[in-house]
Structure formats: structure tokens, C-alpha cells
């Protein structure tokens, strides 16, 4: 049960133009991850790129883990080329996790773009706990909406938006969230979980604060160590700088200084 292990890639599946689903199997028994936690992943090779990259747990499989990643820069571009059998170095699971809602609370999940990677396992966990979430999921276009089938199954209700209207409603997922009416009584019994671009999280935090709803947001910052040692990944909170990799990545939205 070590949090530092080598793993073998068993699949690196292209989902659309810029997103892949990577499945890896650790060489030895890893610790059990919780929804919201993440891994630091490093590739074999020499010292460029140097640092490991953080990716959320997407799903636990029988023998290993999956991450859903978007090709962004140097690291993920190289990651895209990794074939079956390639070896990666993994640190994790790391960070805290999404707190499960009290049984009488209705969970609402808000995902923007690749943010779906982090909340997907929460949705499945909630479904398993018979407290399915209402999932709001927005992306640029239809082809960027990933895993919609599985989400439909895991959700009480799935609301989709795209920037171009190619699927679901046209517009921002937070627009949809803000006009939605839970009714005064249920609001108090709602918990929001959100992952996506910082702007989206800020809007979600605003909506939640306005309605007096508890909201948890998963934050991103550049990371070096992933385990709280370098102080590289802090975000500003009402009680000072906090480490995304240690006190986070999930924060109560009220804590963050946007």
C-alpha cells in the first residue's frame, strides 16, 4: 500500500481530438483512492519534461485506475504517445476528497470541460449510495462532452450545455445553474460539487453564497511535489495560503479568496 509506485499502461484511448482516457495497472498494491483525489504522473525518459503532472482519479477499475486527460502542453503531448505496456511513475492518491453529502441532502455536480474528470467518480459513488446527483456539465462543443452515456446512468438528471449549442443548451453551464430553481426549502438541503475553469468555480461560489448553499470546489495550481513539501501549489484562502495538494484540491467555496 505505497503511494509511490510504477504502473503499466494497459490502454490509452483517444476520446476526441484532445482528450484521452488512460488506464494503468500498478505493479504493486496501491492505496484506495476517493473521489476528488489525484495522482502525480511521471513518464520515463530524461529530464525534460521534468516534473510529474497532476491528474484526478477518473475511475477505479478492477485492477487499476483511469485518468481522463486533455492534451495541453509538453507533458500531455508526450503522454498521448504512450502505448500499451509503457511504464509510468505514479505518486498518489493525493489530497483530500469530496465530502459525501448528508443523506438528506441532494447533491448537485457542476463540471466544466475537463473538470468532468474529477467529479465523475463522485457521481458514480453517489449513485452507488443511492443519492444520485443532478449533474450540470458544460463544454465547448458536442464532441467535448465526454462519457455522457455513463453520466446519464449515474445522474438523477443530466443538464448539458455547449458554447456553440451543438448539444444541450447553448451557453455557459453556470447560466443554467443560476436560473435553476431548487425551491427555497430544498436549497438548504443541497450540496454543490464543482470542478472546471477557475472562472466557472468563482461563479458557482457566487451562486452558492447567494443562495446559502454549501459548495465544494476542486482547485488547480501548478504543482511540483504533490505532497505538501514545496509550498508551490497554494491558493489564497480566507485563512491564508493553503496547499491545493494537501489541504485541497477540494475546498469549501467560501474559503477561497477569488
Amino acid at each position: 500500500m505505497s503511494r509511490y509506485f510504477k504502473a503499466e499502461i494497459t490502454e490509452n484511448k483517444k476520446l476526441n481530438n484532445d482528450c484521452n482516457l488512460l488506464t494503468f495497472v500498478p505493479f504493486r498494491k496501491p492505496a484506495e483512492p476517493k473521489p476528488g483525489q489525484f495522482f502525480m504522473i511521471g513518464m520515463e525518459g530524461d529530464y525534460d519534461p521534468l516534473l510529474k503532472r497532476p491528474f484526478s482519479l477518473f475511475r477505479r477499475t478492477q485492477r487499476g485506475f483511469q485518468i481522463l486527460y486533455r492534451i495541453r502542453g509538453r507533458g500531455t503531448s508526450l503522454m498521448r504517445n504512450l502505448g500499451r505496456g509503457s511504464v509510468i511513475h505514479v505518486l498518489g492518491p493525493l489530497g483530500n476528497s469530496y465530502p459525501m453529502p448528508p443523506e438528506d441532502h441532494a447533491p448537485v455536480i457542476v463540471a466544466g470541460g475537463i473538470g468532468i474528470a474529477s467529479v465523475f467518480s463522485l457521481a458514480e459513488r453517489l449513485a452507488a449510495a443511492r443519492n444520485k446527483a443532478h449533474i450540470y456539465y458544460g463544454a465547448r462543443g458536442a464532441s467535448d462532452l465526454l462519457m455522457v452515456g455513463a453520466l446519464k446512468k449515474a445522474a438523477k438528471r443530466l443538464s448539458l450545455t455547449t458554447d456553440d449549442g451543438s448539444c444541450g443548451e447553448r451557453g455557459c453551464i453556470t447560466d443554467m445553474l443560476s436560473v435553476f430553481s431548487w425551491g427555497a426549502s430544498s436549497e438548504r438541503n443541497t450540496v454543490i460539487y464543482a470542478c472546471g475553469p477557475r472562472k466557472m468555480l468563482e461563479t458557482v461560489a457566487g451562486i452558492a453564497a447567494g443562495r446559502g448553499i454549501e459548495a465544494y470546489v476542486s482547485m488547480e495550481e501548478n504543482m511540483a511535489c504533490g505532497i505538501g513539501a514545496c509550498l508551490g501549489c497554494v491558493v489564497k484562502t480566507v485563512s491564508g495560503h493553503k496547499r491545493v495538494c494537501k489541504e485541497g484540491p477540494v475546498f469549501n467555496a467560501k474559503e477561497i479568496v477569488w
Binding site: 503511494r3 521534468l50 501548478n222 491558493v235
Partner: protein, 301 residues
């Protein structure tokens, strides 16, 4: 096989230490390695009062390196002594505390209060952080100021005193001599090289602090050269660091003149880096019939 080295009054069981700021307060790494196996633990830089540090983003990767601008965020000496030191005392590895001040008096006072704490075995004074303002940097770049501040600290502590040198100078050997003359028991080098990275899309610096400190394999050739230059001009031991990723790298520093080495950025890539490096040094000594690690120091021919 003798791996022990002497740094001032401290006898280390082996020459592999951690580099300040890259190993937290050691607790973070205790899950991955046996802290008892380290030559010494050097903790994140401390100051008299807690510091918030710089706003994020604080780190950014560069080719074979990284820039950081943590801004010396720390919990302050008092909290360290109360909250972190007890854990470290459970190990029989010497604890070296890296610290800094914003004035000569602060440096001296910090040294004094750390020296009073049981469980602190040595001090490393950071006069070389590139993330402080230009005014602060003279502690590590102006020989006269360096002499003053090191002398003041020397008077405030009986603990082994290591002075951490900046590579952002014309003549690092001179800076080392100054530290030696002011009473340092050892020098450590290099701290990070000042660097800047710009996001060409936003046209803004990638770090909120604008500049940051470059570390990692990219800087190794510069660091090894500086250790070699310093080795030829001081008598006190040198703790070499800067881009050490493997035992081969560590051995380069020893051969260039380091008595001990510190592992920094490598901890982020491999949390077991220190231990792997130690094993590699042992293997090298075995293969090359080196019975005392001290025989490697300055062994470049």
C-alpha cells in the same frame, strides 16, 4: 566502508542531505523513506515571524528545470519548534534549520532563538534567495554586507553554522572566503539562479512574482563548476547541490570538492531520491574500492 563526514561540529553518518525548501519539514517524506538513513535533514527556511510568501502561481517548469517563487512562506520559528520539531526529534538524524532575516539583527535573533531549541543541530543561513527584493539580495551578493551578517550570526550561535551562497555573483569563491572569514563552519551552494519565464499568450510573467529561482538538472554544470571554484579557495567543508538527480550527479559534486551533497528538486520527481542516491554512492564506492567517502572529495584529476 566509511560514509561519515564532518560538517563543523556535526558528524553526519553519510553525506546525503536534503535541500531546504524541497523537503518540507521532513514529515511529508517520512511515508516514502526512512528519515533515519539521511545524513541530515535541512528544513524549509524559517524566519522569526511567519510569512505568507508570494501569491500563486509560484512554480513553473522549464527545460530540465523549474522556477520557483515561493517567497519563503513559513510558519515562523516558534511554531516550528512547537509543531514540527517534536516529530523530527524522534529520529537520530541531525536537523539543520535553514533560516533568514530581513535585517542583520533579525538574522542574529533568529539564530539565537533556534540555538536555544533542543533538537536543532545546525543552522544554515540563507543569504541567497532570489525571490526577495533587490535590497535584500545584497546579503548574498555584496561581500561587505555578507561579512557583517555572517559575523553577527556567528556571535549569536554555537551551533554549526552553514552559509548558503548565491550563484548570482561574479565570483563565488570570494563570497565563500568572506563567509569563512566571518566564522562560517561550512558553505552550501548553490541556491537557485534567478530566472524569468513569460507567457507569450497573456504577455505576463508566468510567476506572479515575475522572477523566480531556477533549480534542477539544468543548473548542474554551473553548480559543479562553482563547487570546484570554491573548493580551491576555502578550507571549510562544502555542501554541494544544484540539479542532483542521481548518485552519478552526487559523485560529480563530491569529486568537484563537496564534502556532502543536498538533494532538492529531485525529491519532487522521486520522493525516494535521497535514499536512491545514497545507495548509488555506496555501490560506486564498492565498485571502485573507495573505503572512505572523504577520499572522493576534491578527487577530480
Amino acid at each position: 566502508m566509511n560514509l561519515s563526514v564532518q560538517i563543523g561540529k556535526l558528524k553526519l553518518k553519510n553525506p546525503v542531505m536534503t535541500a531546504s525548501g524541497t523537503f518540507g519539514y521532513a514529515e511529508e517524506y517520512s511515508e516514502f523513506i526512512d528519515l533515519n538513513r539521511l545524513g541530515a535533514v535541512v528544513v524549509k527556511g524559517l524566519s522569526l515571524t511567519p510569512k505568507e510568501g508570494n501569491p500563486p502561481p509560484r512554480i513553473i517548469e522549464t527545460p530540465a528545470g523549474m522556477l520557483n517563487a515561493i517567497g519563503l512562506q513559513n510558519i515562523g520559528i516558534e511554531s516550528f519548534i512547537q509543531e514540527k520539531l517534536p516529530f523530527l526529534k524522534r529520529f537520530h538524524t541531525p536537523v539543520i534549520v535553514n533560516f533568514f532575516g530581513d535585517s542583520i539583527d533579525e538574522y542574529a535573533e533568529a539564530a539565537k532563538s533556534l540555538s536555544a531549541a533542543e533538537g536543532v543541530h545546525g543552522l544554515e543561513m540563507n543569504i541567497s534567495c532570489p525571490n526577495k527584493q533587490a535590497g535584500w539580495r545584497i546579503f548574498g551578493t555584496d561581500p561587505k554586507v555578507t561579512f557583517e551578517v555572517v559575523s553577527a550570526v556567528r556571535k549569536s550561535t554555537n551551533l554549526t553554522l552553514i552559509v548558503k551562497l548565491s550563484p548570482n555573483v561574479t565570483d563565488i569563491a570570494l563570497m565563500a572566503r568572506v563567509a569563512q572569514d566571518a566564522g562560517a563552519d561550512a558553505v552550501s551552494l548553490i541556491n537557485t539562479l534567478t530566472g524569468l519565464a513569460i507567457d507569450i499568450k497573456t504577455r505576463r510573467p508566468k510567476l506572479a512574482n515575475v522572477t523566480g529561482g531556477l533549480s534542477g538538472p539544468a543548473v548542474k554544470p554551473v553548480a559543479v563548476r562553482m563547487v570546484w571554484e570554491v573548493y580551491r579557495s576555502v578550507k571549510i567543508p562544502i555542501i554541494g547541490m544544484g540539479g542532483i538527480m542521481s548518485s552519478d550527479d552526487a559523485l560529480e559534486f563530491l569529486l568537484a570538492g563537496a564534502a556532502a551533497v543536498a538533494v532538492g528538486t529531485a525529491n519532487f520527481i522521486n520522493p525516494r531520491a535521497t535514499i536512491d542516491i545514497l545507495s548509488g554512492i555506496e555501490a560506486y564506492m564498492r565498485d571502485n574500492r573507495v573505503t572512505d567517502v572523504k577520499d572522493l572529495t576534491g578527487g577530480m584529476i
